[in-house]
């Protein structure tokens, strides 16, 4: 019984990390209709940024998250304004291709710049844990979970209740009308994409504290983020929490009852099922 409780706790904490990973992807996809196949590569860059800040400037990875996020926001803004805005009105398919190309380019650049060696962010409190009712909760994962909740709820509030958030949603829903209201779409799209990447960067910073960083982690992170975003549903930013928790728990239980090699079968199998049965996701509106 205690084992089951521990496994569930593991799954929930993992789910929190998953939620942060998928948040940026869901935002950009749900709002801008841009499917970013390079999302994982940006998480990777965020992880490297966090690592450099920690190793060379001694900035704690959690405290340094805003800085990492800012760096990636700037990158995202530039990319959208300079490159992605050029293909926004082309068939959706083209954004898939161009972001794939970006993923390849970013992976190679990362490899040239940082080499293939594995790195990790190992602050002194990395091995600590909190014991709660017979269950051990690793401190870093608990903190990542906390950050995930804060960021997701924050994003939800931002989109619903701030002027900028409403402007972003308006632009996504009706470009022409938004323009008529004086919104500058190129700037707004760039801001949104920047936000998406900022979130990816934050996820990267967190990821770097719990796992190894190398230039090639992008592809599998993208795949995971997709699963989480879709299972949770793209209509509602809170969907990623549901998707993340769901996937985290399913994977942990699968590892316990079936076997560790079936975790991927479970996650992607559920993704396929959700797409077939309820494409709008667990929290999505069945339109």
């Amino acid at each position: 019984m205690e084992l089951l409780a521990q496994i569930l706790a593991n799954g929930i904490l993992l789910g929190g990390l998953y939620a942060v990973m998928a948040l940026g992807l869901a935002l950009v996809w749900g709002v801008l209709n841009i499917v970013n196949l390079a999302h994982g590569a940006f998480i990777m860059l965020g992880a490297y940024a966090s690592w450099h800040l920690y190793t060379y400037l001694g900035i704690d990875p959690f405290l340094g998250l805003p800085l990492t996020a800012l760096l990636l926001f700037a990158l995202g803004y530039a990319l959208q304004r300079g490159l992605l805005n050029l293909v926004v009105r082309a068939p959706m398919f083209n954004t898939l291709l161009i972001t794939f190309g970006l993923e390849v380019v970013l992976t190679y650049l990362a490899q040239l710049a940082f080499s293939a060696d594995f790195r990790t962010i190992n602050p002194p409190y990395a091995g600590s844990n909190v014991q709660f009712g017979g269950v051990v909760l690793p401190l870093v994962r608990l903190a990542a979970f906390g950050v995930a909740i804060v960021l997701t709820v924050g994003m939800w509030l931002f989109l619903l209740h701030t002027r900028l958030g409403r402007a972003i949603r308006a632009t996504a829903q009706n470009l022409l009308a938004a323009r008529l209201y004086g919104v500058e779409p190129r700037h707004l799209y760039a801001v949104t994409f920047g936000l998406g990447l900022a979130l990816a960067g934050a996820a990267g910073g967190l990821y770097g504290t719990v796992s190894q960083i190398n230039p090639y982690i992008g592809a599998s992170l993208t795949a995971k983020s997709f699963a989480i975003a879709i299972i949770g549903g793209l209509d509602n930013p809170l969907g990623v929490i549901v998707g993340g928790l769901f996937l985290g728990i399913v994977e942990s239980l699968t590892t316990l009852y079936i076997g560790p090699t079936f975790a991927d079968v479970a996650s992607f199998g559920i993704l396929v099922l959700v797409l077939i049965v309820r494409p709008s996701g667990l929290l999505g509106r069945t339109a």
């Binding site: 593991n10 594995f118 990395a126 091995g127 690793p138 590892t255 560790p260 090699t261 975790a263």
Partner: protein, 403 residues
Amino acid sequence: MLPRLFFRFPSVILPCLLAALSLPAAAQEITLGASVQLTGPVANTGRYYRDAYQIAVEKINAAGGVKIGAQQYKLALKLYDNQSDVNLSVRQYTQLVSQDKVQLLLGPFASNFALADSAVSEKYKVPMVQGGGASDQIFSRKFKYIFGTLAPASNYFGSTIDMLKALKPAPKSVALLYADDAFDVSVAEGTRPKLKQAGLPIALDERYSTNATDFNSLLSQIKSKNIEAVLVAGHETEILNFVRQAKSLAVAPKMYSFTVGVPSEDFRHALGADADYAFGMTAWLPSAAQKDRWFGDAAQFASEYKQKYGYDPDYHAASGVADVEALVQAMETAGSMEPQKVRDALAKLKFDSLYGPVAFGANGQIDLPQVVIQVQGDGLAEIYGANGFVKQPKYPMPAWNAR
């Protein structure tokens, strides 16, 4: 009309241009060819082989090169980067043999690469000596042109199990965790019967996906079942994750042993103090007792290597050097660089090198015993060898918060 012609022909002309641009290899030198992982996810270990091959070739050339009959030949090395892609590796080996016309082949790192690439050496009947693949599968296909200097995977935990039996008290339960690639599955398949024979009950036997990052579930099970000894066959990053997560989940079995990582400096550096108490194994230690024709002995080799490349060599590097030396010894014994003759000489080869005694079994694989090592404090200690305990192990491992 013209655009049509233009856009149809480039797809035919370009490949022909490629063929015309290939250059023949230089004569009066013996070229050894290899496709190694210099970039990509396993480049971390692949570079050991590039560096090892280079230092060996340089050292042998400095001593005069290869003596075949009355003639001295210099060695040359032709290396390709396979970007950690097995398919590319196969094509590069084909290119080395059929286009670059190298005389002999050196191997890549990793069993799955060696498995695929040995098909090329067999196809073209050019001997390949590889020091990167230990899986028994590579040598079970009755191929005649593949030789390996890594000890069989199935025996990796052999000496560790002998040590466990000799511990007082012996562990009451063992967990066997292994990644699902050729090498680690081979290790597990060989380890299970040995554990059974030693009377050590297996309480957890789990195969996990290669490149897994999350071991929390497995660790929780180890803790809940109070398993005393944990044997993990996996890759360096997985093991790093394993140890870190063990700490953060407060899981401390009485001992744990890993198939990779422990002998390497950067592994211990990455874990810092957390590496303490970890067991591993190695078929090679840089001891002055292992004499070598070109390097003097293993200790001298280790310091030369460190001086040249800036990091300590481990058994991967030593194995790579042994590959080059094996080819040279075979050529000199055969008195020829002709592939068939070299192959026959390799099969009968027996000589001492900094890596240890080199001799290939009937299936082409070397057989060397593994020595149990443990991280103790700042350094690596040799614990248990062919003759029993060399040094007392730090056993059992204390709880994480009691270190």
